[in-house]
Subunit: 491 residues, 2 copies
Amino acid sequence: EKPKEGRLAGLTTLKTLNKKQRFAVPWPICMTPESLKEWVAIESDSIQPLPHFRQEIFKMMDIAADKLRHLGAAVDSIDMGHQELPDGQNLPIPPILLAELGNDPKKPTVCFYGHLDVQPAKKEDGWHTDPFTLVEVDGKLYGRGATDNKGPVLAWINAVGAFQALNQDIPVNIKFIIEGMEEAGSVSLDELVKREKDRFFSNVDYIVISDNLWISKKKPALIYGTRGNIYFTVEVKCRDQDFHSGTFGGILNEPMADLVSLLGSLVDSSGHILIPGIYDNVAPLSEEEKKMYETIDLNLEEYQNNSQVERFLFDTKEEILMHLWRYPSLSIHGIEGAFHEPGAKTVIPAQVIGKFSIRLVPYMNISVVETQVKKYLEDIFSQRNSSNKLKVNMTLGVHPWIANIHDIQYIAARRAIKTVFGVDPDMIRDGSTIPIAKTFQDIIQKSVMMLPLGAVDDGEHSQNEKINRYNYIEGSKLFAAFFLEVAKMHS
Amino acid sequence: EKPKEGRLAGLTTLKTLNKKQRFAVPWPICMTPESLKEWVAIESDSIQPLPHFRQEIFKMMDIAADKLRHLGAAVDSIDMGHQELPDGQNLPIPPILLAELGNDPKKPTVCFYGHLDVQPAKKEDGWHTDPFTLVEVDGKLYGRGATDNKGPVLAWINAVGAFQALNQDIPVNIKFIIEGMEEAGSVSLDELVKREKDRFFSNVDYIVISDNLWISKKKPALIYGTRGNIYFTVEVKCRDQDFHSGTFGGILNEPMADLVSLLGSLVDSSGHILIPGIYDNVAPLSEEEKKMYETIDLNLEEYQNNSQVERFLFDTKEEILMHLWRYPSLSIHGIEGAFHEPGAKTVIPAQVIGKFSIRLVPYMNISVVETQVKKYLEDIFSQRNSSNKLKVNMTLGVHPWIANIHDIQYIAARRAIKTVFGVDPDMIRDGSTIPIAKTFQDIIQKSVMMLPLGAVDDGEHSQNEKINRYNYIEGSKLFAAFFLEVAKMHS
């Protein structure tokens, strides 16, 4: 059965909500995806470093600024200067929007972070429809950026607009920080957040990010953690120039033999990391946490089929999710400097760089792990008595992020979800490293929450990205319900 | 002191030779490098697959055919058809020259193999002089192909010409097989040798190759063996598409972890190969062989300095040479399918192919080693209980070659060296895999000898390739002396 369109869909759900009498926002407006259609049409690709795409992002930020002004917000479009690319090209960085609506000291201030740039998309990559034309098929709104992250930004605007359209008081002060370079690594965002810490962010109580997905197709989720990442290079060097294995094979400590031995000592075949002490600071598993994992809606068979993996290291939903979210993992990515092409080459690479990284979890400490890794590899290497030179470097260290799920805004969000969707959310984490939450937490030192709207099958970053009409509309309601709940609890 | 030029240099040495009364070839002619200059000027590059270079090789083969005809030889320039390259290009293969001079059933027939194609060379690669202009500096004749292999081919022709110029009977029947595709893998040579086995090669007694170098700058050498090579790919596959380590790190048997563990189990840090049984068929070290290693002229300190290696696996000249020549070695070349570029990428490669090869020595057997390697890797992999798929393939197998140093032509060459250079040669091998000797040995089933003329510092394949004037001239004499010795011993 096709869901009902526009106003009607909103009104139908409104009745249900009113019956429950949990809060009093009706949904007569803002519920058609017209604005989303207009926004998806802009190819605001931040990955391809071409002037044309940058112009599109600028256009996107302008339209969003207008939309926010139309909402009555005071909008600052902050010029972030230029970016020099590795190829020497100089491109302008799209502005970051800082917007605020309401300044009532009796109300809590909720700041929403979102981004309006998108991943590249081309019809010929396997899209069934034009990626920059929002098309609805069976209740799914297909288009690049529909779920990542234009849809959620508009849902937040919808929520604010609904209160206004009905002349109802918005129960919270609203702030927005909207960028246009997230997919390209949030160029210059940190800088701005630091700069605005004591001005724009000074009265912010809660920060909400809606840039992830549920773990289910149907059941909403709240995200309270992301893994960090610490990236290492392991260089083993004999000399600059490669050798020929006919001429030198047999009398050398070959760097590749040293390196595979080092890399092979990092993790065992059950995925257990062999670096002494590495698990020491991993948070112990509490009973409350254990129970949260049990209630999560994950169809293991479907998950396995979708991933095309014959067998995982673990058999149960709980073990799998814990090893993706709350335990560290180590992955070997590759080797630089060795023979990597098809075919056969009898080279003895003279200088090779292995690369691996460890996904960090609370409460692992970057510098402690760095020391443990270096000491371990140096010990193993010295046991080999090789004449080569070893250099281990940490090239990247991003902290894990974890929120306190008993914070007011988490409780408020759980209540709002129960109101709008009728269920308790999955309390989940994201195994990836998303520095933004930790950045806000560290700089602004306020509670950060990830409140996703999209379903697990939305395909962010892939072909045929979509957001369900249901998720878009109920998500808009969810944000409004959240305003009411958080205001109630905050006072 | 600069060596004397041309005729005079020849005549001076002649006197010495005559005094010893070991044989009676005077050296009035052929001793200037005029022909070498003409040949080096032709850019007969077989590596770069361009029509222009192929034309140069054709030109080179034509000039050589004329030179051989001028010597009185009957020359067949055999059309070897076309070659289809991986990029679809179709290029003509240069002809192979089969030449013969003399057909006296009372004389032995000595066949010389050589090639007239060269490695690429460009002035800007670091040549001090134009690579295709033969230039003499301090007794060194610089130019691409001077030592590899145009110089030695001309030295053989010089030796024949010397007998003729003096109206002396050539004591052996002479044959030549000269190709133009050696650097590119001797395209179609095998085919011709097989085809001519019962015709051109039917009366050949000895095959001489002069396409290597001495191990010393001063002391001549005879080469009686080359290592073989067996190349393996080890594929570990989870699925087609790579994973993101944030999304899947922690729950997978990661192919790279499996692969580095497999590759790390092949060889220990002292260079010892860990595959059970692999040393079983390696020839035991005889007392005679041991003594030969002791007399070899290798300045270990200089060798080590030149190689820019801080420390070898072995401390003595004998151990180092034995591990380059008469013991197998295993080298890991690289990994295909993993992250190999500079920078940091958090990929979990889903399908990776490790590559390694083993240099084979007498009397290791390719199919025995293949079975040992596959069984060993499959055992190790099955102990890991990984859900990935393993595929081990042998992609190349070339036999080692060893000659009987008590064969007539080896004894003859040792005597000729003693006559011309006044010393016993280093009896050496080549650690590289040069299939040609084994090919001739297997197909024609006659004694094959490598009789190098060039010094260790000739820089074949590198910038500033050269042959010493001394080596070129004395080498020409050496060949003539060899004709006399082999004829004497053969009868």
